[in-house]
Protein backbone atom coordinates (compact mmCIF):
# COMPACT_ATOMS: atom_id res chain seq x y z
CA UNK A 1 0.00 0.00 0.00
CA UNK A 2 1.34 3.39 -0.99
CA UNK A 3 0.39 5.01 2.31
CA UNK A 4 2.38 2.50 4.35
CA UNK A 5 5.26 2.83 1.92
CA UNK A 6 5.45 6.62 1.92
CA UNK A 7 5.33 6.78 5.73
CA UNK A 8 8.03 4.13 5.92
CA UNK A 9 10.10 6.02 3.36
CA UNK A 10 9.70 9.21 5.36
CA UNK A 11 11.25 7.63 8.47
CA UNK A 12 14.16 6.18 6.52
CA UNK A 13 14.82 9.44 4.63
CA UNK A 14 14.84 11.40 7.85
CA UNK A 15 17.28 8.94 9.36
CA UNK A 16 19.68 9.07 6.44
CA UNK A 17 19.62 12.87 6.54
CA UNK A 18 20.37 13.18 10.24
CA UNK A 19 24.11 12.59 10.11
CA UNK A 20 24.76 14.26 13.45
CA UNK A 21 22.17 12.12 15.16
CA UNK A 22 23.62 8.96 13.65
CA UNK A 23 27.07 9.76 14.96
CA UNK A 24 25.77 10.90 18.35
CA UNK A 25 23.75 7.73 18.87
CA UNK A 26 26.86 5.64 18.30
CA UNK A 27 28.30 7.10 21.50
CA UNK A 28 26.46 4.88 24.00
CA UNK A 29 27.11 1.54 22.34
CA UNK A 30 30.74 2.50 21.65
CA UNK A 31 31.23 3.23 25.32
CA UNK A 32 29.82 -0.15 26.34
CA UNK A 33 31.84 -1.90 23.69
CA UNK A 34 35.07 -0.04 24.39
CA UNK A 35 35.00 0.37 28.15
CA UNK A 36 33.10 -2.73 29.26
CA UNK A 37 34.30 -4.90 26.40
CA UNK A 38 37.96 -4.26 26.99
CA UNK A 39 37.67 -3.42 30.69
CA UNK A 40 35.94 -6.62 31.75
CA UNK A 41 37.70 -8.70 29.11
CA UNK A 42 40.53 -9.96 31.36
CA UNK A 43 38.14 -10.97 34.20
CA UNK A 44 35.87 -12.76 31.75
CA UNK A 45 38.79 -14.64 30.30
CA UNK A 46 40.11 -15.63 33.72
CA UNK A 47 36.67 -17.03 34.54
CA UNK A 48 37.16 -19.35 31.61
CA UNK A 49 34.43 -17.79 29.44
CA UNK A 50 36.61 -16.84 26.50
CA UNK A 51 36.61 -13.46 24.80
CA UNK A 52 34.27 -10.91 26.35
CA UNK A 53 34.21 -8.85 23.16
CA UNK A 54 32.91 -11.89 21.27
CA UNK A 55 30.32 -12.42 23.97
CA UNK A 56 29.02 -8.89 24.30
CA UNK A 57 29.09 -7.71 20.68
CA UNK A 58 25.66 -9.28 19.97
CA UNK A 59 24.41 -7.68 23.20
CA UNK A 60 25.59 -4.25 22.13
CA UNK A 61 23.88 -4.69 18.78
CA UNK A 62 20.68 -5.66 20.61
CA UNK A 63 21.05 -2.63 22.86
CA UNK A 64 21.42 -0.30 19.90
CA UNK A 65 18.31 -1.69 18.27
CA UNK A 66 16.37 -1.40 21.53
CA UNK A 67 17.39 2.22 22.15
CA UNK A 68 16.84 3.37 18.58
CA UNK A 69 13.44 1.73 18.33
CA UNK A 70 12.22 3.01 21.68
CA UNK A 71 13.39 6.50 20.94
CA UNK A 72 11.35 6.71 17.77
CA UNK A 73 8.21 6.02 19.79
CA UNK A 74 8.98 8.58 22.39
CA UNK A 75 9.61 11.16 19.70
CA UNK A 76 6.01 10.47 18.73
CA UNK A 77 4.76 12.22 21.83
CA UNK A 78 6.40 15.38 20.64
CA UNK A 79 5.30 14.76 17.10
CA UNK A 80 1.71 14.56 18.22
CA UNK A 81 1.64 18.13 19.46
CA UNK A 82 4.25 19.83 17.31
CA UNK A 83 4.75 17.62 14.38
CA UNK A 84 3.61 15.66 11.49
CA UNK A 85 1.54 13.08 13.36
CA UNK A 86 -1.59 15.23 13.47
CA UNK A 87 -1.44 15.66 9.71
CA UNK A 88 -1.64 11.90 9.32
CA UNK A 89 -4.39 11.54 11.93
CA UNK A 90 -6.85 13.68 9.94
CA UNK A 91 -5.98 12.09 6.59
CA UNK A 92 -8.61 9.85 4.99
CA UNK A 93 -6.59 6.67 5.57
CA UNK A 94 -6.99 3.93 8.18
CA UNK A 95 -5.09 4.45 11.41
CA UNK A 96 -3.73 0.93 11.02
CA UNK A 97 -1.91 1.89 7.79
CA UNK A 98 -0.32 4.87 9.54
CA UNK A 99 0.71 2.78 12.52
CA UNK A 100 2.22 0.05 10.34
CA UNK A 101 4.09 2.58 8.19
CA UNK A 102 5.54 4.37 11.20
CA UNK A 103 6.39 1.18 13.06
CA UNK A 104 8.09 -0.44 10.10
CA UNK A 105 9.94 2.81 9.44
CA UNK A 106 11.12 2.97 13.05
CA UNK A 107 12.12 -0.70 12.91
CA UNK A 108 14.07 -0.20 9.68
CA UNK A 109 15.96 2.70 11.19
CA UNK A 110 16.77 0.56 14.23
CA UNK A 111 18.08 -2.23 11.98
CA UNK A 112 20.22 0.26 10.02
CA UNK A 113 21.64 1.58 13.25
CA UNK A 114 22.24 -2.00 14.42
CA UNK A 115 24.08 -2.70 11.17
CA UNK A 116 26.31 0.28 11.77
CA UNK A 117 27.20 -1.02 15.23
CA UNK A 118 27.78 -4.47 13.79
CA UNK A 119 30.39 -2.97 11.47
CA UNK A 120 31.93 -1.14 14.42
CA UNK A 121 32.20 -4.40 16.39
CA UNK A 122 33.92 -5.98 13.40
CA UNK A 123 36.45 -3.16 13.40
CA UNK A 124 36.90 -3.60 17.16
CA UNK A 125 37.83 -7.23 16.57
CA UNK A 126 34.55 -9.15 16.75
CA UNK A 127 34.55 -12.21 14.50
CA UNK A 128 31.30 -14.08 13.74
CA UNK A 129 31.74 -17.85 13.73
CA UNK A 130 30.23 -18.18 10.28
CA UNK A 131 29.52 -15.58 7.63
CA UNK A 132 26.52 -17.57 6.39
CA UNK A 133 24.78 -17.05 9.71
CA UNK A 134 25.03 -13.24 9.47
CA UNK A 135 21.91 -12.77 7.31
CA UNK A 136 19.97 -15.06 9.68
CA UNK A 137 21.19 -13.04 12.64
CA UNK A 138 19.84 -9.96 10.90
CA UNK A 139 16.41 -11.56 10.67
CA UNK A 140 16.47 -11.90 14.44
CA UNK A 141 17.66 -8.30 14.73
CA UNK A 142 14.72 -7.24 12.57
CA UNK A 143 12.37 -9.09 14.92
CA UNK A 144 13.83 -7.25 17.89
CA UNK A 145 13.39 -3.98 16.01
CA UNK A 146 9.73 -4.64 15.20
CA UNK A 147 8.95 -5.68 18.79
CA UNK A 148 10.35 -2.53 20.32
CA UNK A 149 9.10 -0.17 17.62
CA UNK A 150 5.60 -1.51 18.20
CA UNK A 151 6.01 -1.17 21.95
CA UNK A 152 7.31 2.35 21.46
CA UNK A 153 4.27 3.20 19.34
CA UNK A 154 2.01 1.90 22.09
CA UNK A 155 3.80 4.02 24.68
CA UNK A 156 3.96 7.09 22.46
CA UNK A 157 0.21 6.79 21.90
CA UNK A 158 -0.56 6.44 25.60
CA UNK A 159 1.60 9.09 27.24
CA UNK A 160 0.21 12.58 27.61
CA UNK A 161 3.17 14.58 28.85
CA UNK A 162 6.88 14.81 28.19
CA UNK A 163 7.62 13.98 31.81
CA UNK A 164 6.62 10.41 31.01
CA UNK A 165 9.77 10.13 28.92
CA UNK A 166 12.06 9.89 31.94
CA UNK A 167 9.81 7.25 33.48
CA UNK A 168 9.96 5.12 30.36
CA UNK A 169 13.74 5.40 30.14
CA UNK A 170 14.34 4.53 33.79
CA UNK A 171 11.67 1.93 34.38
CA UNK A 172 11.43 0.25 31.01
CA UNK A 173 14.28 0.81 28.57
CA UNK A 174 17.20 0.53 31.01
CA UNK A 175 15.83 -2.56 32.83
CA UNK A 176 15.07 -4.18 29.47
CA UNK A 177 18.70 -3.71 28.53
CA UNK A 178 20.26 -4.72 31.84
CA UNK A 179 18.03 -7.77 32.28
CA UNK A 180 18.63 -9.07 28.78
CA UNK A 181 21.88 -10.89 29.32
CA UNK A 182 23.46 -8.52 26.81
CA UNK A 183 26.44 -7.95 29.10
CA UNK A 184 26.52 -11.11 31.26
CA UNK A 185 25.91 -14.83 30.72
CA UNK A 186 22.53 -16.21 31.76
CA UNK A 187 24.00 -19.31 33.35
CA UNK A 188 24.07 -19.61 37.13
CA UNK A 189 22.16 -16.40 37.90
CA UNK A 190 20.41 -15.91 41.24
CA UNK A 191 16.80 -17.17 40.99
CA UNK A 192 15.04 -13.82 41.01
CA UNK A 193 17.32 -12.27 38.42
CA UNK A 194 17.09 -15.42 36.32
CA UNK A 195 13.29 -15.24 36.39
CA UNK A 196 13.35 -11.55 35.45
CA UNK A 197 15.64 -12.16 32.49
CA UNK A 198 13.12 -14.69 31.20
CA UNK A 199 10.26 -12.21 30.97
CA UNK A 200 12.43 -9.73 29.04
CA UNK A 201 11.87 -10.15 25.29
CA UNK A 202 15.28 -8.69 24.52
CA UNK A 203 16.85 -11.68 26.33
CA UNK A 204 15.60 -13.97 23.57
CA UNK A 205 16.68 -11.49 20.92
CA UNK A 206 20.23 -11.22 22.22
CA UNK A 207 20.40 -14.97 22.81
CA UNK A 208 19.25 -15.66 19.26
CA UNK A 209 21.74 -13.23 17.71
CA UNK A 210 24.51 -14.62 19.88
CA UNK A 211 23.56 -18.17 19.00
CA UNK A 212 23.72 -17.42 15.30
CA UNK A 213 26.83 -15.26 15.36
CA UNK A 214 29.09 -17.09 17.83
CA UNK A 215 27.25 -20.36 18.38
CA UNK A 216 26.61 -19.76 22.06
CA UNK A 217 22.97 -19.86 23.14
CA UNK A 218 21.09 -20.41 26.39
CA UNK A 219 17.61 -21.24 25.10
CA UNK A 220 18.37 -22.44 21.58
CA UNK A 221 17.78 -20.31 18.50
CA UNK A 222 14.50 -22.03 17.62
CA UNK A 223 12.91 -21.19 20.96
CA UNK A 224 14.33 -17.64 20.76
CA UNK A 225 12.75 -17.05 17.37
CA UNK A 226 9.43 -18.57 18.46
CA UNK A 227 9.25 -16.30 21.50
CA UNK A 228 10.23 -13.24 19.43
CA UNK A 229 7.59 -13.90 16.79
CA UNK A 230 4.95 -14.45 19.47
CA UNK A 231 5.84 -11.28 21.37
CA UNK A 232 6.13 -9.40 18.07
CA UNK A 233 2.57 -10.26 17.04
CA UNK A 234 1.31 -9.36 20.49
CA UNK A 235 3.10 -6.00 20.60
CA UNK A 236 2.07 -5.01 17.09
CA UNK A 237 -1.57 -5.70 17.98
CA UNK A 238 -1.17 -3.79 21.22
CA UNK A 239 0.50 -0.87 19.44
CA UNK A 240 -2.19 -0.77 16.78
CA UNK A 241 -4.89 -0.75 19.43
CA UNK A 242 -3.27 2.05 21.44
CA UNK A 243 -2.61 4.04 18.26
CA UNK A 244 -6.26 3.76 17.23
CA UNK A 245 -7.22 5.36 20.55
CA UNK A 246 -5.21 8.56 20.16
CA UNK A 247 -7.32 11.63 20.60
CA UNK A 248 -5.30 14.56 19.34
Amino acid sequence: MTVVFILWLREVKKYLRSRVQIVASLGGPLMYLGVLGFGLGPVFRRAGEGSYLQFMAPGVIGMTVLFTAMFSGIAMLWDRQFGFLKETLVAPVPRLAIMIGRTLGGATVAVLQGTLIFVVTLIAGFRPASLLAVPLAFLVIALIAVIFSALATAIGSSLKEMQGFQMVMNFLVMPTFFLSGAIYPLEGLPKVLGALTRVDPLTYGVDGVRGLLIGRTHFGVALDVAVLVGVGVLFVLFGAWRFSKIEA
Binding site: R10, K14, R17, S18, F82, G83, T88, V90, P92, A248
Partner: protein, 266 residues
Amino acid sequence: MSDQPIIRVQHVIKSFGKVTAVNDVSFDVRAGEIFAFLGPNGAGKTTTIKMLTTLLRPTSGSLELDGLDPATHQTEVRRRFGVVFQDPSLDSDLTAWENMDIHGVLYHLPRRARRERTETLLRMFELWDRRDDLVKTFSGGMKRRLEIARGLLHTPKVLFLDEPTLGLDPQSRNQMWTHVRNLNQAERVTVFLTTHYMDEADRVADRIAVIDHGRIVATGSSAELKQQTGTDSLEAAFLALTGTTIRDESATAADQMRQVARVWRR
Protein backbone atom coordinates in the same frame (compact mmCIF):
# COMPACT_ATOMS: atom_id res chain seq x y z
CA MET B 1 -23.25 31.21 -2.20
CA SER B 2 -25.87 28.55 -1.75
CA ASP B 3 -28.37 28.55 1.07
CA GLN B 4 -27.49 25.03 2.14
CA PRO B 5 -25.03 25.33 5.04
CA ILE B 6 -21.77 23.45 4.53
CA ILE B 7 -21.29 23.16 8.28
CA ARG B 8 -24.15 22.72 10.68
CA VAL B 9 -23.57 22.47 14.43
CA GLN B 10 -26.55 21.93 16.69
CA HIS B 11 -26.60 21.94 20.48
CA VAL B 12 -23.12 20.50 20.75
CA ILE B 13 -21.68 19.88 24.20
CA LYS B 14 -18.17 18.58 24.83
CA SER B 15 -16.99 17.83 28.34
CA PHE B 16 -13.63 16.58 29.52
CA GLY B 17 -14.39 15.12 32.94
CA LYS B 18 -15.77 17.99 34.97
CA VAL B 19 -14.76 20.69 32.52
CA THR B 20 -17.26 21.64 29.84
CA ALA B 21 -15.21 23.07 26.98
CA VAL B 22 -18.11 23.57 24.59
CA ASN B 23 -21.51 24.19 26.10
CA ASP B 24 -24.58 23.90 23.87
CA VAL B 25 -23.16 25.53 20.77
CA SER B 26 -25.19 25.90 17.57
CA PHE B 27 -24.25 27.66 14.35
CA ASP B 28 -24.26 27.29 10.57
CA VAL B 29 -21.50 28.11 8.09
CA ARG B 30 -22.62 28.87 4.54
CA ALA B 31 -20.79 27.44 1.56
CA GLY B 32 -18.18 29.82 0.19
CA GLU B 33 -18.01 32.24 3.10
CA ILE B 34 -15.21 33.15 5.46
CA PHE B 35 -16.47 32.40 8.93
CA ALA B 36 -14.58 33.46 12.04
CA PHE B 37 -14.75 32.08 15.53
CA LEU B 38 -13.70 34.92 17.78
CA GLY B 39 -12.94 34.39 21.43
CA PRO B 40 -10.22 34.23 24.08
CA ASN B 41 -7.90 31.25 24.52
CA GLY B 42 -9.75 28.45 26.24
CA ALA B 43 -13.15 29.59 24.96
CA GLY B 44 -13.74 26.31 23.11
CA LYS B 45 -12.64 27.28 19.60
CA THR B 46 -10.04 24.56 19.13
CA THR B 47 -12.29 21.93 20.70
CA THR B 48 -15.01 22.79 18.17
CA ILE B 49 -12.52 22.50 15.31
CA LYS B 50 -11.33 19.16 16.64
CA MET B 51 -14.89 17.85 16.66
CA LEU B 52 -15.52 19.04 13.13
CA THR B 53 -12.24 17.56 11.93
CA THR B 54 -13.05 14.09 13.35
CA LEU B 55 -10.42 14.21 16.09
CA LEU B 56 -12.90 14.40 18.95
CA ARG B 57 -16.45 13.16 19.38
CA PRO B 58 -19.03 15.45 20.95
CA THR B 59 -20.50 14.47 24.32
CA SER B 60 -23.91 15.32 22.89
CA GLY B 61 -25.48 17.28 20.05
CA SER B 62 -24.97 16.92 16.30
CA LEU B 63 -22.39 18.12 13.79
CA GLU B 64 -22.53 18.02 10.02
CA LEU B 65 -19.96 18.83 7.39
CA ASP B 66 -21.33 18.80 3.86
CA GLY B 67 -24.27 16.81 5.18
CA LEU B 68 -22.08 14.15 6.84
CA ASP B 69 -21.49 13.42 10.52
CA PRO B 70 -17.75 13.60 11.30
CA ALA B 71 -18.11 10.99 14.04
CA THR B 72 -19.70 8.33 11.85
CA HIS B 73 -18.38 9.19 8.37
CA GLN B 74 -14.76 9.91 9.28
CA THR B 75 -13.12 9.08 5.98
CA GLU B 76 -15.65 10.88 3.77
CA VAL B 77 -15.53 13.95 5.99
CA ARG B 78 -11.73 13.94 6.04
CA ARG B 79 -11.60 14.09 2.25
CA ARG B 80 -13.75 17.22 2.33
CA PHE B 81 -11.71 19.45 4.58
CA GLY B 82 -8.18 20.76 4.90
CA VAL B 83 -6.89 21.95 8.24
CA VAL B 84 -4.08 24.06 9.62
CA PHE B 85 -3.73 23.39 13.31
CA GLN B 86 -2.64 25.88 15.89
CA ASP B 87 0.62 24.01 16.36
CA PRO B 88 2.77 23.19 13.34
CA SER B 89 2.18 19.82 11.72
CA LEU B 90 4.80 19.99 8.98
CA ASP B 91 7.72 17.63 8.90
CA SER B 92 10.58 20.06 9.30
CA ASP B 93 13.21 17.48 8.30
CA LEU B 94 11.67 17.15 4.87
CA THR B 95 11.52 19.66 2.02
CA ALA B 96 8.44 21.69 1.12
CA TRP B 97 7.94 19.51 -1.93
CA GLU B 98 8.16 16.29 0.09
CA ASN B 99 5.66 17.57 2.61
CA MET B 100 3.22 18.31 -0.20
CA ASP B 101 3.89 14.99 -1.87
CA ILE B 102 3.21 12.90 1.23
CA HIS B 103 -0.01 14.80 1.74
CA GLY B 104 -1.01 14.00 -1.83
CA VAL B 105 -0.39 10.30 -1.24
CA LEU B 106 -2.33 10.34 2.01
CA TYR B 107 -5.27 11.86 0.14
CA HIS B 108 -4.98 9.40 -2.75
CA LEU B 109 -4.21 11.96 -5.44
CA PRO B 110 -2.78 10.45 -8.63
CA ARG B 111 0.88 11.33 -9.17
CA ARG B 112 0.24 13.71 -12.06
CA ALA B 113 -2.49 15.69 -10.27
CA ARG B 114 -0.29 15.75 -7.19
CA ARG B 115 2.57 17.36 -9.06
CA GLU B 116 0.53 19.87 -10.99
CA ARG B 117 -1.46 21.03 -8.03
CA THR B 118 1.61 21.21 -5.80
CA GLU B 119 3.25 23.50 -8.32
CA THR B 120 0.17 25.71 -8.62
CA LEU B 121 -0.17 26.06 -4.87
CA LEU B 122 3.51 26.58 -4.12
CA ARG B 123 3.59 29.33 -6.73
CA MET B 124 0.43 30.88 -5.36
CA PHE B 125 1.92 30.98 -1.86
CA GLU B 126 5.30 32.21 -3.13
CA LEU B 127 7.18 29.11 -2.02
CA TRP B 128 8.04 27.62 -5.40
CA ASP B 129 11.64 28.82 -5.33
CA ARG B 130 12.15 27.16 -1.97
CA ARG B 131 10.46 23.87 -2.80
CA ASP B 132 13.61 21.78 -2.37
CA ASP B 133 14.70 23.37 0.89
CA LEU B 134 14.16 21.68 4.23
CA VAL B 135 11.20 23.15 6.08
CA LYS B 136 13.31 23.77 9.17
CA THR B 137 15.10 26.53 7.27
CA PHE B 138 11.79 28.38 6.68
CA SER B 139 10.57 31.44 8.59
CA GLY B 140 7.39 31.23 10.67
CA GLY B 141 5.34 32.91 7.96
CA MET B 142 6.64 30.61 5.24
CA LYS B 143 5.86 27.54 7.30
CA ARG B 144 2.32 28.73 7.88
CA ARG B 145 1.88 29.44 4.19
CA LEU B 146 3.16 25.99 3.35
CA GLU B 147 0.68 24.45 5.78
CA ILE B 148 -2.18 26.31 4.13
CA ALA B 149 -0.98 25.29 0.67
CA ARG B 150 -0.77 21.70 1.85
CA GLY B 151 -4.26 21.86 3.35
CA LEU B 152 -5.58 22.89 -0.06
CA LEU B 153 -3.79 20.23 -2.08
CA HIS B 154 -6.71 17.82 -2.20
CA THR B 155 -9.15 20.63 -3.14
CA PRO B 156 -11.21 20.52 0.04
CA LYS B 157 -14.61 22.12 0.39
CA VAL B 158 -13.76 23.60 3.76
CA LEU B 159 -10.47 24.90 5.05
CA PHE B 160 -10.06 25.12 8.83
CA LEU B 161 -7.49 27.58 10.11
CA ASP B 162 -6.93 27.43 13.87
CA GLU B 163 -5.25 30.67 14.94
CA PRO B 164 -3.33 30.91 11.66
CA THR B 165 -1.53 34.14 12.51
CA LEU B 166 -0.43 33.26 16.02
CA GLY B 167 3.22 34.08 16.51
CA LEU B 168 3.62 35.87 13.17
CA ASP B 169 4.89 39.40 12.78
CA PRO B 170 2.42 42.04 11.53
CA GLN B 171 3.77 41.97 8.00
CA SER B 172 3.42 38.18 7.69
CA ARG B 173 -0.04 38.43 9.19
CA ASN B 174 -1.13 40.91 6.56
CA GLN B 175 0.30 38.78 3.83
CA MET B 176 -1.41 35.71 5.26
CA TRP B 177 -4.84 37.32 5.15
CA THR B 178 -4.33 38.52 1.60
CA HIS B 179 -3.57 34.93 0.67
CA VAL B 180 -6.60 33.60 2.52
CA ARG B 181 -8.90 36.12 0.85
CA ASN B 182 -7.48 35.35 -2.57
CA LEU B 183 -7.82 31.64 -2.25
CA ASN B 184 -11.33 31.93 -0.88
CA GLN B 185 -12.20 33.70 -4.09
CA ALA B 186 -10.05 31.67 -6.50
CA GLU B 187 -10.87 28.22 -5.12
CA ARG B 188 -14.37 28.94 -3.83
CA VAL B 189 -13.38 27.21 -0.65
CA THR B 190 -15.25 27.86 2.58
CA VAL B 191 -12.86 29.14 5.24
CA PHE B 192 -13.51 28.48 8.92
CA LEU B 193 -10.99 30.30 11.06
CA THR B 194 -10.47 31.00 14.72
CA THR B 195 -8.70 34.01 16.10
CA HIS B 196 -8.49 36.10 19.17
CA TYR B 197 -7.42 39.16 17.24
CA MET B 198 -10.48 41.31 16.70
CA ASP B 199 -9.03 43.42 13.93
CA GLU B 200 -8.42 40.26 11.91
CA ALA B 201 -11.94 38.93 12.33
CA ASP B 202 -13.22 42.37 11.45
CA ARG B 203 -11.18 42.58 8.28
CA VAL B 204 -11.41 39.12 6.71
CA ALA B 205 -14.54 37.42 7.93
CA ASP B 206 -17.93 37.57 6.21
CA ARG B 207 -19.53 36.45 9.43
CA ILE B 208 -18.28 36.17 12.99
CA ALA B 209 -19.40 34.04 15.91
CA VAL B 210 -18.30 35.35 19.27
CA ILE B 211 -17.59 32.53 21.70
CA ASP B 212 -16.81 32.78 25.38
CA HIS B 213 -16.71 30.13 28.12
CA GLY B 214 -17.86 27.50 25.64
CA ARG B 215 -20.97 29.41 24.59
CA ILE B 216 -21.72 31.43 21.49
CA VAL B 217 -22.83 34.85 22.62
CA ALA B 218 -23.53 36.40 19.21
CA THR B 219 -23.33 35.65 15.49
CA GLY B 220 -23.38 38.03 12.55
CA SER B 221 -21.29 40.18 10.27
CA SER B 222 -18.99 42.67 11.88
CA ALA B 223 -21.48 45.45 11.07
CA GLU B 224 -24.37 43.48 12.53
CA LEU B 225 -22.50 42.84 15.75
CA LYS B 226 -21.70 46.53 16.10
CA GLN B 227 -25.28 47.48 15.36
CA GLN B 228 -26.65 44.88 17.75
CA THR B 229 -24.58 46.22 20.59
CA GLY B 230 -24.77 49.86 19.59
CA THR B 231 -21.01 50.16 19.46
CA ASP B 232 -18.71 51.48 16.77
CA SER B 233 -15.89 48.97 16.91
CA LEU B 234 -15.80 45.19 17.07
CA GLU B 235 -13.74 45.48 20.19
CA ALA B 236 -16.41 47.48 21.95
CA ALA B 237 -19.03 45.05 20.64
CA PHE B 238 -17.06 42.15 22.06
CA LEU B 239 -16.79 43.91 25.39
CA ALA B 240 -20.52 44.56 25.43
CA LEU B 241 -21.27 40.94 24.58
CA THR B 242 -18.94 39.17 26.96
CA GLY B 243 -18.39 41.74 29.64
CA THR B 244 -14.64 41.16 29.41
CA THR B 245 -11.78 42.00 27.15
CA ILE B 246 -9.93 39.16 25.47
CA ARG B 247 -7.80 37.42 28.05
CA ASP B 248 -5.87 34.24 28.61
CA GLU B 249 -7.28 31.34 30.56
CA SER B 250 -5.08 29.09 32.68
CA ALA B 251 -2.39 27.04 30.96
CA THR B 252 -3.12 23.53 29.73
CA ALA B 253 -0.67 20.68 29.24
CA ALA B 254 -0.37 21.68 25.58
CA ASP B 255 0.43 25.26 26.59
CA GLN B 256 3.21 24.00 28.82
CA MET B 257 4.65 21.95 25.98
CA ARG B 258 4.46 25.03 23.77
CA GLN B 259 6.60 26.91 26.27
CA VAL B 260 9.29 24.26 25.98
CA ALA B 261 8.88 24.16 22.23
CA ARG B 262 9.55 27.87 21.99
CA VAL B 263 12.91 27.40 23.68
CA TRP B 264 13.92 24.45 21.54
CA ARG B 265 12.47 25.54 18.24
CA ARG B 266 14.98 25.21 15.47
